[in-house]
Structure formats: C-alpha cells, structure tokens
Symmetry: C2
Subunit: 324 residues, 2 copies
Amino acid sequence: MHDYNYYLRLVEGAVSNINYPSRPAELYKPIAYTMSQGGKRVRPVLTLMTCEAMGGDLNKAVDVALGIELFHNFTLLHDDVMDRADVRRGKPTVHCKWNDNVAILSGDAMLTMATQAVSRVDADIVQPMVELFNDTAMKVYEGQQFDMDFESRNDVTVDEYIEMIRLKTSVLLGCACKAGALVAHATEENANSIYDMAVNLGLAFQLQDDYLDVWGDPATFGKEIGGDIVNNKKTFLLINARDHSAGNDAIELNRWLADTTSPKQEKIKAVTALYEKLGLKDLARNAIVNYSHNALDLLHETKMSYDAYKVFEGIINRLADREK
Amino acid sequence: MHDYNYYLRLVEGAVSNINYPSRPAELYKPIAYTMSQGGKRVRPVLTLMTCEAMGGDLNKAVDVALGIELFHNFTLLHDDVMDRADVRRGKPTVHCKWNDNVAILSGDAMLTMATQAVSRVDADIVQPMVELFNDTAMKVYEGQQFDMDFESRNDVTVDEYIEMIRLKTSVLLGCACKAGALVAHATEENANSIYDMAVNLGLAFQLQDDYLDVWGDPATFGKEIGGDIVNNKKTFLLINARDHSAGNDAIELNRWLADTTSPKQEKIKAVTALYEKLGLKDLARNAIVNYSHNALDLLHETKMSYDAYKVFEGIINRLADREK
C-alpha cells in the first residue's frame, strides 16, 4: 500500500490528462475550470486505495476514480446553481463566472463524461460498474431533493436527516470504494463490506461537519464558525435541539430561529450555549464516534492486510475526527 | 415488419411501465409529467424498427428505445430552462409548472435513468451500447452549445449551421438506429450505414422544419408560420440569404433584421418574398431532397429485406417530406 499523497498524485495526473476538445469553448472550459479547483479528492483516492487493498491493478482503477471525481464535481456545479452559491473553494462558481445556461449544460456534459470514465474498465465488469454508478447517482439526486424539501419543512426528524445525508453524500463514498473493489474483482461480500464502511464514514464525516460549524476552531476550520446557526440550517444539531427542548428552552430556541435583527455573534453564542445545555455536544460526538466505529468494524470484516487496514484506519480518523 | 403504430404502442407501453419511486415527489413527478406528454416518439420507434429489420429480438430493444426517449426528453427539459420556454406540446414546461431547481435536478435524474435503460441489454453489448450512447450525448451537448453561441454571432456559415444541427438533432437519430442494430448483433458495416442513414434523415428533417416555418401550410403546420423570421432566427434560410444577397437585397434584409416596429405579418411577407427572389425556396427544397436521397441510398446499403426497406422508406418520406 501507498500513502494518501501517492494516490492523490495519480488522481491529479488523471485530472490534468483529461483531453478537452477546444470547441465549443463554453462547454468545455467550465469543466476544465471546475476540475482544476482541486479539493481533497477523497472519493477517487478511496477508489484507488480500495482497489490496491483488495489486490487489484491500480492502473485499471484510475479512469474509474476520475469518473467518480467528475461526478462529484458535476453535483457541486449543479447544486451551486440551485443554491445560488457564488463561491466554491475560494473561486467564483461556474454560473457566476459564466452564466446559468453554461453551468447547466457543462454540468450535463460532466455527468456524461463521468459515465464514460467509469465504463473504461475490463469488459466483464462494465455492467456491474455502470449499474453501481447509476444507482448511486439516483440516490444522490434523491438526497439533494430531500435536502431542498427540508428547507421549507419544520418537522424534519433525525432519522429523515440521517437518511438525507446518507443519500446526498455517503453513498457516493460507498460507490467510490465499491468501484475500486469491482476493479480488483473482490468477492461480493468484501465489496459490500467496504461499501458499508464508506457509508458509515460518510455519515461520520457529515455529522463532523455539523459539529465543527459550532465547536470547530476558527483557526483550523475552513469556513466561518456558526454559519449554520445564523442561517437556521436544519443540521443534526438543530433538529435534535427541537426534539430535546421543552418549556423555556423551546421558547428560547424558537425566538432565536425567528430573530433577524440581533448581531450574528450574539445569536451564535446563545444558540451554542443552548445546544450545550441540551447535551447536544456529547450527543453529536457520540454519534460521530459510533459511525466511525461502525466503519472500522466493517473495514475489519473485509480481512484486508494489516498494512492496508492501517491506511484506511488513518483515513477514517482523518475524515471523521478532523478539525477542519 | 410491423407498422409505425405497432412500434409506437410498444414504446408507449414501456413509458407507462416506468416504475417511479413515490418519494421525493418533486424529483420523480416532473419526470413522469414530461414522459407522459407524448410526441411522435420517432427515436425509440426507429430503435425498434432497426432492431427488427436487422433480425433482432424486438423485446430486447424496448428498454434501449425507452432510454433514448428518456434522453431526448431530458434534453428538451434542460433546453427549455436555458431557452426560458414556457410551453412544450401545449403544456407548461417543468420549470414553469415547478421551478428551475426542480427542472435541473429532475433532468439530471432523467439522464441517469436513460443511461440505466440503455444498459439493460445482453452483457456482451453493454460496452458498445454505453459507448455509443455517451458519445452521442456529448455531441448533443456540443450542438446545443453551438446553437446558443450562434445567437450572438452574425457570421455563422452554412457549414457551421449544418454541423450544429447534425450534432444537436441528427446524431441522436443515428444513435437510435445504431442502438437497435447493436441489439440485433448486426454487422458493424450495417450498423454504421443505418447510423449514417438516420443522420441524413435528421438533417432533412431539420431543414424541412426551417422550410415549413416559411412555406408551410398554416392549416397543417403545428406552429405559427413565420416565427423564425419574426425572431431573426439563424435558420438555413437566413444564413443563406446573407450569403446570397448583395446590393439592395442585402440592405433590405438588414433593414428587416433591425426592424422592431413593423407589424409581424408585414415583416414575414417581405422577408419571404426576398427569400423567394434569392432562389432560397428551391435551394432549401434541393438540400432536403439531397439529404433524403442520401438516406435512401444508405438504407439500401444495409441490404435489409424489401419489406423492411419499404417501412423505412415510408418513415423517410414521412419525416423529410412532411407538411407538419
């Protein structure tokens, strides 16, 4: 096994080797722009790692890894249009730099390019690979739609929230790992265990995101602390706060949710204090630890080599227990 | 061989058998709405016809045909967002009935569902089928981008226009036929001939659309006559008019292009007269006949049975030499 940066370099190599036609420029330039923005490239790295850990030929997994990264970036591109987000990774989003039409059409093209890339595998695994990829894509769209639905609902349950983040973000991590397992011709049992491992890792990762928005260190967390609180975003914490508060706590929570005039910092401070009073810091911490432990247990079930196990363990700790 | 309506019924059966999950409703309802709007279903019918004409099992081509119809409707759905079109087949478009976000996301899902459907074939043809489908999709996006680019250009050549309509509309007809040939395990030569046949048919069809907008019979043509002229749309006729006019004709053409105050009918009448003076009615007619003849020649090359040939010949005449 190699280290994270080794796989990352393979992914970056594949990204920079994409051969974009020169015309029509407004179709392909936004794709090249999006793909060159970098990011952690977690998903394609997981594909390569899984392939190698399960005894596969790393070179045969590079196109698949690229396809999954293309798909992930396609979802960000279209989500940014839907969310009217102006900035991504410190740069203007495609619909801001160009326009909505360019963002829609180049996103469509990225989705097709992603499907092309994941199909560049040995003939005998094209069918399961394309099936895995398409099934995953449908789940991701469902998650995105549920996420948008939740914005106008005040009765979202914790279970619904977990299901939404499972669909919107976790299954793609599962797909990334399982795709690597398919290239390695792993047993179905191993392929499914690594899929479930990554889904649990994804849940831990997303909950950690909710957690860091409140209790992250502003010095290391990339985003501004408290953004979710200011925007009344229905995170794991807010949904649980609604479930766990009664009497004056519930009144105070609702007052802050309705507040549009107080200084941001005051609202962040008060809601954070309320979350702590309700025991949500521990609740969230425990949920994250639980999903991480599930991930480690499932990793263990694949009976990969100790060497490989340690690399994955490092990723799980890095992603689920991160500070940024 | 069967008649058009027999294949159409198979397609309609497949469309009405699509099993949409009930949730999230705003993801799947717009897809069901779009697919239920009908239309001629030319592309999936061509898939089924080609499959049968080349000795394939019709039942094995139904999902592929459905996938191609899903793809076609996905492109219309996203194009309507980009073109801000409010009505399609007499009904409000998805972004009008719901909103842009719903149209973007349900379109994405339709594209993935299309890919799923075309992959439901025997394992040995999954790879060529997915490759054909994805390559075609990329061309369609390129065509749509060129079409949008042309709106702000005044120097589009006839060759560029033909290339744009080839990409935007004709290659999907080619793909529809070739997909049927793949299911039938036709020879590569035959599969390529039928592809080229359909591309020529598509060119004839699109030029006929431009022609009917000017010289169609208002009683049988579905749309209002002269819409392209009123909107200064860069059709085969306008581009050729620019190329073929000089002196006073060129001055008059440019005056009408800049005109925003005269009654519509006056502009339509004057520009039509100018087109006729420049010999464009015959020029367009000849181009349509040429592409139709090419299509018939290529059809002949496939050496399909006389029975099958006559059915395809009927389609070519129906589409390329239509009144509506």
